[in-house]
Symmetry: C2
Amino acid sequence: MRLTLKDLARELGVSTATVSNAFSRPDQLSAELRERILAEAQRLGYQGPNATARSLRRGRTGIIGLILADRLQYNFEDPVATRFLHGVSEVFDQQNVNMLLLPSRSEFYLGQSFDSLADGYIIYGPPRDGRILDKVTARRKPSVTVDFNLEGVRSLNIDNFAGAHLAAAHGIRHASGQIAVLGLRLISDATQISRVGDQPLTTAEESVSRRRLDGYQAALLEAGRELNPDWIWNAPESRYELGYQAAREALLCTPRPELLLCMSDRLALGAVAAAQDMGLVIPDDLKVIGFDDIPTAAYQRPALTTIHQPQHEKGRQAARMVLGLNNRSRDIVLDARLIVRDSC
Amino acid sequence: MRLTLKDLARELGVSTATVSNAFSRPDQLSAELRERILAEAQRLGYQGPNATARSLRRGRTGIIGLILADRLQYNFEDPVATRFLHGVSEVFDQQNVNMLLLPSRSEFYLGQSFDSLADGYIIYGPPRDGRILDKVTARRKPSVTVDFNLEGVRSLNIDNFAGAHLAAAHGIRHASGQIAVLGLRLISDATQISRVGDQPLTTAEESVSRRRLDGYQAALLEAGRELNPDWIWNAPESRYELGYQAAREALLCTPRPELLLCMSDRLALGAVAAAQDMGLVIPDDLKVIGFDDIPTAAYQRPALTTIHQPQHEKGRQAARMVLGLNNRSRDIVLDARLIVRDSC
DNA sequence: TTGTAGGCGTTATCAT
DNA sequence: ATGATAACGCCTACAA
């Protein structure tokens, strides 16, 4: 059987309170007694207070939950997510906080409700199932939404509208012909590439991508140009292959687009490959602008012109917000900036 | 004040047991009553059983701890680690298991002992502080060590010796001149690049890298050649810049090495860049072989010849082992294989 | 099918 | 400085 604090107390002939103090509040007992207790614990193989019991009693666990919009694995695959997590973990590391990774599969929350284990939540992207959000907000624990907004919860975003605006404005300065957009999650529940046309789009509140689209459109409008929904493609996920596929479709249309505005670098990199495989030269025959500024965007030849968003810093900020280390502003919006390289 | 199961029971005029069953064991009560309870819970804003209390009572949490050898952030940065986590999370996703990421900072375990929260552990790489391992093994929970071995704990490794042997054997078939090794964590507590010389090395038990070194040496010996410790450089971490720096040092020596055996692809990619910056042409002037086969190794020009290790599969296996889904063999060793590309 | 009650292992409060 | 004791919120025999 497992040793408990009580066993140890009995063995030593002291009270459980004292043993507890020996581990958790050294100032409450004499150094000498504490020493004796710790030594005995060591000898008997007692590993310290049971974390579950302690959490129950104390009302907190030292764990922050990260609710990830996508499948868990996606977040280890996509450099955008990875860099965000990297930033979060940097702060958690410093603060001795544990990170519980929670996918947003609804079975999880609706059934098991492990969620109450965490002292707070970072919600990275809008969960597919909205009921999860209800659950989290009902807990009234410190929470931060990232890349979307939720009534009554602090949020952290980049300025997607402005970023997209920069991209489009730069793009049309260099391309006068047809423009196509490779969008990301513009349509709920899509599972494959599709031309947007008259399908209903997500709203600006719930989606980063929609705000990017609005940014593109505003810039075009200001230049007296227009973006027909038929020239917008939607990808359900930010993946190279989907970018390749969508770009291929777009580039086979007439008139062939001269500018591709892509809502992620991974889509853009796929698009570049597709163009090259069709014998097009970038940026001469086709200009491509990405979004995110992932590391590969800079390595790639031609290097990708894109919008930089500070993912790592975003992660750090999110962590600081949820831990209450950042009590200044309520909502935070970080800047996005244009990085001009070779593709446009 | 927070609602508890008891409050809900009182409100409804039923027993706490019934309410508990409504949430956790639907078959124990009439569908009708359950419905009523759930509805009332919804109405009052009761979010389901408190996870901490439930865990205390049940003795398990549905959480698996991942003890990461390095700083937490390193694991989101290094593609080798990332792909491993990706594999783990794939299985956890399916099995409705939560993943608690634990860095191996000792303060954590020695003081707070949050560790007992987990139902089991995957220990990815040897923690810097060995006492952590004592703590974990003392808990007697299902555990798996990855990339190292620990008495009494199931382990998962790739065949590092064989992999390195393949690399070296291939290398000397194409290069007859001087050979240099860019090693990884061959020396404990190193914090920067250093030439190994007569510094003491880690043992084969505790380190992947040492087994790789043995593999290199065995292959060279079989070919009647030798590897002088003066031609081995050590990097404390697998990073591009360290590879660059070490390679630069090595390539400035006389005779200039013709073959670089690198213990990670990131080191190798840095080495390639260093060589190119020195005006060397790969593979004509210098041959480079990496280890890991990270995605970039294939993209890069010249594409990197390297040893493939199935990181994703390794993650899946580790997850299956710790969850007891894999009751066949005790220890597992996965194959590594040579991928010949352009750099050698 | 539903209710009663003891205990999971701690820690905080209040005595002594 | 140390001890006694009552929670923390839930689950599960067992009884009804």
